[in-house]
Assembly symmetry: C2
Amino acid sequence: MNSGQVDSNEVREKETERGKRGIVFTDNSPFATLKSVPISAVKMNDGFWKARMEVSAQAGIPSLYRLFKEKGIFDNFIRVYKKGYAPRRGPFFTDSDVYKWVEAASFALQSEDSSRLKDMLDEVIDLIIPAQDEDGYLNTYFVEEKARERFKNLKVYHELYCAGHLFQAAVAHHRATGEEKLLECAIRFADHLCKVFGPGKRDGFSGHPEIEMALVELYRETGKKRYLDLSGFFLDQVGFASLKEVIGHAVRAMYLACGGADYYAETGREDFWESLTRQWESMVKTKSYITGGIGSRHSGEAFGAPYELPNEGAYAETCAAIGSIYWNWRMLLITGNSQFADVMEKTLYNGFLAGVSLSGDRYFYVNPLLFSPQSLFSNQTPPPWNRGGYGNRMLVSGRREPWYDCTCCPTNSVRMLSSIPGYFFSLSKEGIWIHLYDNCSLDWHLEDGTKFSLIQRTKYPWQGKVDIEVYPEKEKDFSLFLRIPGWCKGMEALVNGERVSPKLANGYLKVNRVWKKGDRLTLNLKMKTEVMVSNRRISENRGKVALQRGPIVYCFEGVDNPGIPILEASLKIDKDKGSLVNLKESYYKDLLGGIVALKMDGAIPDPSELDSPLYRSFEEERSCRFKSVSLTAIPYYAWANRKLSDMTVWIPYAL
Amino acid sequence: MNSGQVDSNEVREKETERGKRGIVFTDNSPFATLKSVPISAVKMNDGFWKARMEVSAQAGIPSLYRLFKEKGIFDNFIRVYKKGYAPRRGPFFTDSDVYKWVEAASFALQSEDSSRLKDMLDEVIDLIIPAQDEDGYLNTYFVEEKARERFKNLKVYHELYCAGHLFQAAVAHHRATGEEKLLECAIRFADHLCKVFGPGKRDGFSGHPEIEMALVELYRETGKKRYLDLSGFFLDQVGFASLKEVIGHAVRAMYLACGGADYYAETGREDFWESLTRQWESMVKTKSYITGGIGSRHSGEAFGAPYELPNEGAYAETCAAIGSIYWNWRMLLITGNSQFADVMEKTLYNGFLAGVSLSGDRYFYVNPLLFSPQSLFSNQTPPPWNRGGYGNRMLVSGRREPWYDCTCCPTNSVRMLSSIPGYFFSLSKEGIWIHLYDNCSLDWHLEDGTKFSLIQRTKYPWQGKVDIEVYPEKEKDFSLFLRIPGWCKGMEALVNGERVSPKLANGYLKVNRVWKKGDRLTLNLKMKTEVMVSNRRISENRGKVALQRGPIVYCFEGVDNPGIPILEASLKIDKDKGSLVNLKESYYKDLLGGIVALKMDGAIPDPSELDSPLYRSFEEERSCRFKSVSLTAIPYYAWANRKLSDMTVWIPYAL
């Protein structure tokens, strides 16, 4: 079914070399400030992210591979070219999960030259390609009698969404391996789309965005401008320029925004930029959790109204957090403004990372900010006279799963973790940008081609000190741009032990000098436990606080607080200083993969209070006895890795 | 299609006289403590409920009659016997709404002998009856080609639910008018059900309970025990005895519990009683709003987990509140325990009554405890790439509607309001029970037949003093049982001006003596504004209070607090006394139909604070300036009768 032909009249404008392009390749984008640094140029050393990447590559990626086999998801491809091989299984968008896995494995290959991974990847790609139709169409759901329905219902079915994930996978695979087979498959399908859709051809857009950003990246990889134009066509069909806030299905909103940002980076369309900034403001000012989680409504997996951010009822889908990271990364590449990196970092360490187990092979779909196993009892026994009716509240189990019927979050999570090194650095004419901090080394070049390497040494995110050694191939005048995180209230920087006066531009400390081999830059970011409050309009959080230390948002989990009904506890805050009482911040090497846990004074009601009525008078409540206790908080991302217990991010305080 | 025949071998065990039976007729129920007093025996005088009943009878009932005509809901009956008359319109359960309306009109006829109402009622009943099939089956959805699907999918379709509403309407109509035509129609259908369902016949139960209580009442009206047995059969099929908590769809849970209670009142089945008390405890202790509203989840219109009681996200369907009143009324009749009357009263004045506009012809489906018009802006413009996906959050508009596509709440609301007088009094061997307080008179008899009348004079619910004059036809030794509401912290009672020592039994003050004509009993219920708090497990309400005065729960509505961002305000509470500061309670005759409004001191943030970030440090927040203001609260039931503005029941406090 596969013609194996690529249009021979077309010459790729640029050849790429293996491992030389970043995840979002903005090097030739006229409206981007920053250029990409590929994953392969960054080596993660022992530290926070390396541990997570390793379990994901060694447990997560192979586990999904096995589950695809077990659930017949690979077979969906085979059955297209082997009649009667197997029945089609899973939802109509299962192809996209395989493509996301291919992308994840391709990213992982840039970090580690694993033959085991390469073999799996080759096997899967070789399963996919023969399923392509002669005209370039590829989707395992719309085959046989359903082939007649291709492109008939773009709003409901995810053909363009699946196509987009194929394109992203193909680009990632090409960048990782230099091999062209999957890229050629993507090009054939993209060319088919260009024949079907566009001005004067068929109208329409995808009900689930994704194709928009994928087409721009395929344009960047191949130089074929028609892909960029088709992306713009779809974005205009949606009416992207007129969107005023983030709204509706959160993952879709994020992916669409990514497409809009990518298109802007290439074209500078002003109305797109205005739409992007309006949407971003609405998200960051009114529709985000403190974890960076977004999309508060279970119903429709959607953004709520401004300030509608329930804690127990939060949806905050893992995929939506990933989508926000993708979008903010693009906004950062366009502007070089750290406000986008702040959202990205906050979401990486909290809203996203909570979605993945410490073992790397289990995932949350929904990420509540308050959880009680007690809530489950009602969920588990639907009454006999009721026909379902719980909606997707069923998903909040407090247990991460290796797989979901709609398994977007697992595949997205391994994809995100494999790509982490790609978000650490950027390049501009002026020098090197450092967005994230962790033990790692960079082996790359300056914009003029001067070879350049760098080593980061730090205990980030547990400590705020970052040591950086730079190794330009020769003495060279350029700048290092060091992101000063939004959470940081004080910092100092030293070059070779001497303090430099901080010059902040767009949230980055710019250190310009003639750098030579072995120069050391030390960044001291003041890191302390911050007591955070939320805007009064988040009604549920009035009178409550959350704890944040550096980029890490904390939570109180029952398992660390034995005998304490954590959902009925309150923190003590020193009335005069406004600070926690008896705060102790300690690093526990063996707890939850190594974390800083926090201890502080709090109070719980007398046990006799536990059975108090649902409502009673203030006077009655005032006569209650309370007991002082010490409370323990752990990073939110690490919750639900032990036995099921109560958990809350926001906790009431008493002065 | 209607055979017009009633099984002539059956003789009704009891004849009823017009206007002589209560709404739930427990006079012959072996396991009920209290006997019913019919609506017709109670005359409401100018006061709180009379005003609501009048607008409902004069505006609500006729408005629904017009809307049934306009929407083709009556035509659904006519088209059954006039081929091609009209297409079928509305959801598959529209018959039930007509039956509920018939029941409402029948109740109203017991209060007021209105020929206009009687004419409407006759017209509607004469439309219904010919639609009955020869075998007794009656449902306008399962006709023509759909007739084959009768009773095929009881869990989804509402055939037994509609049947139940027909039976209730028929019983109410018979009790109100003494006419038999609709009752005969109901009997024919019930006999058909008895032929189809039961041990050794067809299994099954209704996905939407209602038939269970209706069959028991039809048994009470006709004496045909097979109806009681069929009710028990359905209840056992559902597994009623093993239910451990209220769970799932709230209206369904309430109606099922009503059926279980009715069946218990007749049979004394101990396992049913245990199930009823377990369910009731779980509802009252963990799953009710302070308004009495229940069913907190939009998703599935369902009860949430224990303590899952979001304010803005509350579903709290008007029908569920009504269902709770029905159930608690049955529990009260069984036990004579005021804890059930407390829930009933709280729900009547708050959770239910908020569902009806002061004009009596507009209704809420959903009753949130916090509302902001700002939330609507996001709801009204679904994004182009999103396929719906808001679920029923769309229903929360802050505006009551005269009709819904699923118009259960409007018809249930007029039914509830028409039946109010039936909930005021009961009878037992020992005497007369007074459950509710309002200006009214009772003209009835004691259990031994001694004629007896009584006049209540009060400004309840605005004042706690109730004057009662009793008129037994002759001097007689019996007791008056006066409910001492759960909200009341202090009371005194005087007979002919002399204090009596209060003897409380099951929450009722029992005043036993030889009563003679003109004896006066004065009850002084201490009524003051109570500052209420909720159980700590309702996370959202931590640090917040709600105001309650007598049975009335208050709310803060923007329209009464001009220039005050009410959702960002807080109350002042005197640290030493634990009370509101500068509280003023005043009756406003012309405001919202006459209410006591509350004024007290509070604080709002400086206007510069309105644009504060979503999250910031406690220290930053502490430096905010606040402004003292006077805040106004109105009864929750009266909200949303003026222009759209913010509203909240729970409000943070500062000591």
